[in-house]
Subunit: 327 residues, 2 copies
Amino acid sequence: MGEASRDKRAALERLQAASRILLTSHASPDGDALGSELGLAELARALGKSATIVNHDPHPSSLAFLPGIEAVEVRSTLPEDFERAFDLAVVLECPDVDRPDLDGLDRLPILNIDHHLANTRYGAVNYVDDEAPAVGEMVLGLADAANVPLTVTMATNLYTALVTDTGDFHYSNATPRAFRAAERLVGAGAIPTAIAEHLHEHVPERVIRLTAEVLSTLEMLAGGRVALCWCDREMLERTGAKSEDTENLINIPRSIEGVRVAVLLKAFKDDGVRVSLRSREEPDVQQVARIFGGGGHKNAAGCTVPGSLPEARRALLEALLPIVESA
Amino acid sequence: MGEASRDKRAALERLQAASRILLTSHASPDGDALGSELGLAELARALGKSATIVNHDPHPSSLAFLPGIEAVEVRSTLPEDFERAFDLAVVLECPDVDRPDLDGLDRLPILNIDHHLANTRYGAVNYVDDEAPAVGEMVLGLADAANVPLTVTMATNLYTALVTDTGDFHYSNATPRAFRAAERLVGAGAIPTAIAEHLHEHVPERVIRLTAEVLSTLEMLAGGRVALCWCDREMLERTGAKSEDTENLINIPRSIEGVRVAVLLKAFKDDGVRVSLRSREEPDVQQVARIFGGGGHKNAAGCTVPGSLPEARRALLEALLPIVESA
């Protein structure tokens, strides 16, 4: 931790040397991107700096409650005078400098703050700590190092960063360090109940209607080891749902007792069926995805299978079932 | 906290004075009941005592992973010789002495360990701390007071107690103290990812099939402020589900954006329809439940409405909608 602690000091010194700071994070910003941007912007202002957040994409509606989010600028290109308007770009939660999708960003000196192991160290100053549960937790450490007391708004933004990036403390980054940060942030006024309600309890009606339709297609195969569901264009039309609304649905068949592989078939286009595969420990579903030119990793993979829904279903099961039987 | 700390010391002294300890908790034991029983049984054994857990009801299948659970005795009555076999009964997470549903339990001296404000202090020694996030966290405090180091099995049981009783750190008892305990327990070897998987990812297939059917009945009323679903005996028969499987279903309509009141109608019996009501802040759904002789509290209430499903639906909405409109 000596290195991380030296890098933290260097990051703080770089912040203190700047006066007009541009903050950004990856395109399609999530809770850790926005929470750490907003927390750090507040910290920068407490240090007497001006701070402007610019993101390529708007925030998801579940994060609209974050204090200060109304001031985040959403732009597909940086403003014309950005090189004069700012003297430092802080890039948060980005393993490489292309992730913000803002051309020319690297014409400013960059302070890179991230927790991805594969970070390419693209900054003039790099504060990369792959043991940090969330970048929001690193911003908490910067506030401590700067002796800036936590406010309720800072705590709310940083707790949201932490709780979203650890999947409600369900992922492997729910370490003692993550819980220590949570203790601090809740002690400083973040309210877990209120934040959880914002994050989880504003589900659009169309998603519930789509969930009902997709779950009604549930088929159990291979003696209960495979759970298969499907979704087609008519379902989206009937429920008013969008294709992105299917994103987390595969977690429901995956959660069924005894299921080793969950399959979701999405027949939205004419040129084939998009297949998502999830497994628990064994088997390696990437093997199956590769047969159809797809990829992923052992427990989460995807591919596109040509043909109609029944054709794609048959072809996929012909590839998958022998692997499940032998696992 | 002076009082809680004195009571903790008294509890530890009472444990140390015993030699053959019976542990129990409430009927239909949950994660905090079983986790704190198993954690305390291990602590008692580390102190050189014998420890036997007796519960009135079996554990839910989601808790079958708890280390040591196979030794928990499930009995509707205490063994005949229990007064000679044991010299102390420890009753965990029970606001009163009837909750374990084990007749004659109070013929043994009782050590009462609980975190309910309304605890009736029925023990010879009472360690009641209503600021404790879970009884499992109080057992952690007892282990510290006894200088007994945490083992991985103890940490796993106590973390499960904590994470279930705080609703995955979503409830208002997700306090700094709860996160401090989580830090300690994860540091001692509890694995949040593995525990979350056991708790949430062994859903019986019948529950998913029932969920699909119940969600397909979703009706949005009062301009989207009321979400109503229903469930009848035929659905249970078709899906193989039990009436208990409906328990958490109301949380799905409750989570829809804009919904103030969620209603679940359960037509399982001939003499009326069981109604569950949940609200967000306003209105007070207990008001509505009372009209039909039911009860509960402001944001969660229930009642039985006579008649068929359509009749009960109509009567309930006649009472509910004016209250929603004026809230």
